[in-house]
């Protein structure tokens, strides 16, 4: 078991890749064999993610190192100095936390897809793209090398756009795919420019090596600006959010949740760069306030645009955009005060990071439920739906749970993380907490409107039947996660979120020391 735990970081990337390339070959044997293979790969990946999380959180979040292709990562020069030149995977509390989120979302998305695509053919390439996207997201979250991060960023961009434009018979999905691919490519090129600038200045690509060598000169600030622009575009922060409703709205329903995990992975990349790579060599107060301003804009614009939508998937997409703002707000407050490190800064970090997990679960549940609704009624327009609660009782309850959790109503998990964010941002500036609370109330109003339009109403003829059990089980699993994390938030915050927040807030020296100090 320890051998498996030791190799878990690289197996998390290699096993989905094996699945992605093996699915078309096994798909020739028939649909049942292909579904079993994909399910097996998804379960294996989730098991390794759990193993990795158990080992990292069991060691109180201390970072651990995995070197690709060799015993040690340093090559001793004739002068006796040793530079880290191999590609490493460095896992600390935050990486393990993100790996848990990704594993949950891709597992439920894959199992939902089995019955979602039951009466259509041609699904082999769909699963191949899903596995490729999974491998890319895990690669982005576990790597310790800047160029490796860029490569996996591009892998996820290509796989995500392939999934957005997968249904080639729908014309809007092709338009969305083109726009999103062009924007993702430009953001990836900005990131590559920044990596090139840092390499040219300091001669290394390893995150820990760069972190110890950074001085904060003009080129570093330019590189930081490029990285911020590229990763904020990919995460969907306003004013670079234009692609997000198209992308989440046009992708097949289970894949919209995985695309949200993709955006959260680039948000993780942004946090890793701000806290671990740059740390205190830049003016963190200014940068923190830039993040806070972006966060407020995102929260507000996301919710207000969601109010006026008639299309259910675009509405939930705007909801997802606004929740990214909450994560940015929590971590931005933490960054702005990270010189003096008061207590409320740490609470803000905990809130922002916990919200990443809660948002993934709630948005996943909402997108799956919306997929069920669209499949059952055949339309995405809210004005043409009605009265679904009479025949689809389970779906209406699950949708209500997801909507209330996202809007921050107790006792669901959204309330726990949002309360931490409200509390901490109030201590920094009361205006932030006011905007955040008002937007949560607006989001609740939006979802009440959606629920009334889609589910309530008079019973009419020709109501669709309840969804089959294959689509019900992933939704129930996500709803259970939502409820359990809402009823016992303290336990989960202590076990999972605090090591992750520690890794960003205090863990920069440990991260660097693991690579440079010891070996």
């Amino acid at each position: 078991m320890t051998a498996l735990t030791q190799h878990a970081p690289v197996l998390l990337i290699a096993i989905p890749l094996l699945g992605a390339f093996g699915v078309p070959l096994i798909g020739k044997l028939g649909r049942g064999a292909r579904n079993t293979f994909v399910g097996l790969i998804a379960l294996l990946t989730a098991a390794f993610a759990g193993l990795l999380a158990a080992s990292v959180f069991g060691a109180a979040g201390a970072p651990s190192l995995y070197v690709l292709g060799g015993n040690g990562f340093g090559v001793p020069l004739p002068s006796g100095m040793s530079i880290p030149i191999r590609i490493i995977l460095e896992t600390d509390g935050m990486s393990a936390f993100m790996a848990l989120i990704t594993a949950l979302i891709t597992l439920t998305g894959a199992f939902f897809s089995f019955s979602y695509w039951k009466d259509r053919s041609g699904g082999t390439l769909y699963y191949s793209l899903l596995m490729l996207l999974t491998a890319g997201i895990f690669g982005m979250e576990l790597t310790g090398d800047m160029f490796n991060f860029f490569v996996f960023l591009e892998v996820t961009s290509i796989a995500a756009c392939g999934l957005i434009g997968f249904r080639v018979w729908l014309k809007t999905s092709q338009e969305a795919g083109f726009k999103v691919m062009a924007l993702y490519t430009l953001s990836g090129l900005f990131v590559l420019l920044a990596v090139g600038l840092l390499y040219g200045q300091y001669g290394g690509l390893n995150i820990a090596y760069l972190a110890s060598a950074l001085t904060g000169s003009t080129i570093d600030v330019v590189a930081l600006g490029l990285l911020l622009a590229g990763l904020a575009l990919k995460a969907g922060a306003v004013p670079l959010h234009m692609w997000a409703p198209d992308a989440y709205g046009e992708a097949p329903a289970p894949m919209s949740a995985v695309l949200v995990a993709n955006s959260q992975a680039s948000l993780y990349g942004l946090f890793r760069i701000l806290f671990t790579l740059f740390g205190l060599t830049i003016s963190v107060a200014a940068l923190g306030w830039i993040l806070i301003v972006l966060a407020l804009l995102t929260i507000f614009v996301g919710v207000t645009m969601a109010l006026i939508q008639n299309d259910i998937k675009r509405l939930i997409a705007y909801g997802a955009v606004s929740q990214i703002g909450y994560m940015l707000l929590g971590v931005g407050v933490g960054l702005a005060v990270s010189v003096a490190k008061p207590d409320y800064g740490f609470v803000a970090m905990q809130g922002g990071i916990f919200h990443m997990f809660n948002d993934a679960a709630c948005i996943g549940l909402l997108f799956l439920a919306s997929g069920v609704i669209v499949r059952a009624t055949g339309t995405r327009d809210l004005n043409q739906m009605g009265g679904l609660a009479h025949s689809m009782k389970w779906t209406s309850v699950l949708f209500l749970i997801g909507a209330f959790a996202l809007a921050g109503v107790p006792p669901f998990n959204g309330f726990a993380s949002k309360f931490l964010i409200y509390e901490a941002s109030f201590k920094l500036s009361p205006f932030l907490a006011v905007v955040a609370v008002l937007s949560s109330i607006l989001l609740l109003a939006v979802f009440v409107k959606v629920f009334q339009a889609a589910f309530l109403g008079a019973r009419r003829d020709g109501l669709p039947a309840e969804v089959p059990i294959g689509m019900m089980v992933p939704m129930v699993a996500l709803a259970l996660v939502v409820i359990v994390f809402g009823l016992f938030p303290g336990f989960f915050v202590d076990k999972i979120v605090t090591p992750a927040a520690n890794a960003l807030w205090y863990g920069r020296d440990a991260y660097i020391g693991l690579v440079l100090g010891g070996g």
């Binding site: 290509i158 014309k171 092709q174 083109f178 062009a182 490519t185 420019l193 390499y199 709205g249 645009m305």
Partner: protein, 116 residues
């Protein structure tokens, strides 16, 4: 002959031209060409990072004795970036083909079904 900062200036010009083309042209294929120009500029920037004056290619097979070599790592980075650019351009052009089949036009101002 010392070429100074000329490769970096050219790389910046290429990136600027590419962004201009992406923002101000109307044909979808020209947008793809704009993205490709930005990629080319970034690749040129990466290769120019490794150049050392009067260096030779970083290959040991039949290398001339005791000369300085240019850095090989940026060349590996550029190669990876070219491969990624190939996949990206292929996907963008496939989407352009499908858009033409559905909408009948390649004018980006007429391909605006998703609004709001």
């Amino acid at each position: 002959m010392n070429i100074g900062n000329l490769p970096f200036v050219v790389a910046a010009l290429l990136v600027a031209f590419g962004i201009y083309t992406f923002l101000y042209k109307r044909n979808l294929i020209k947008l793809v060409i704009g993205v490709s120009l930005v990629e080319t500029g970034v690749n040129l920037f990466l290769v120019a990072l490794g150049y050392r004056t009067a260096g030779i290619a970083p290959i040991y097979t039949f290398a001339p004795a005791a000369k300085q070599m240019v850095l090989p790592t940026p060349q590996a980075l550029t190669l990876t970036s070219i491969v990624i650019g190939l996949a990206t351009t292929a996907l963008l052009l496939s989407f352009a083909v499908f858009i033409h089949r559905h909408y009948g036009t390649l004018d980006v101002r007429k391909v605006k079904e998703l609004r709001g």
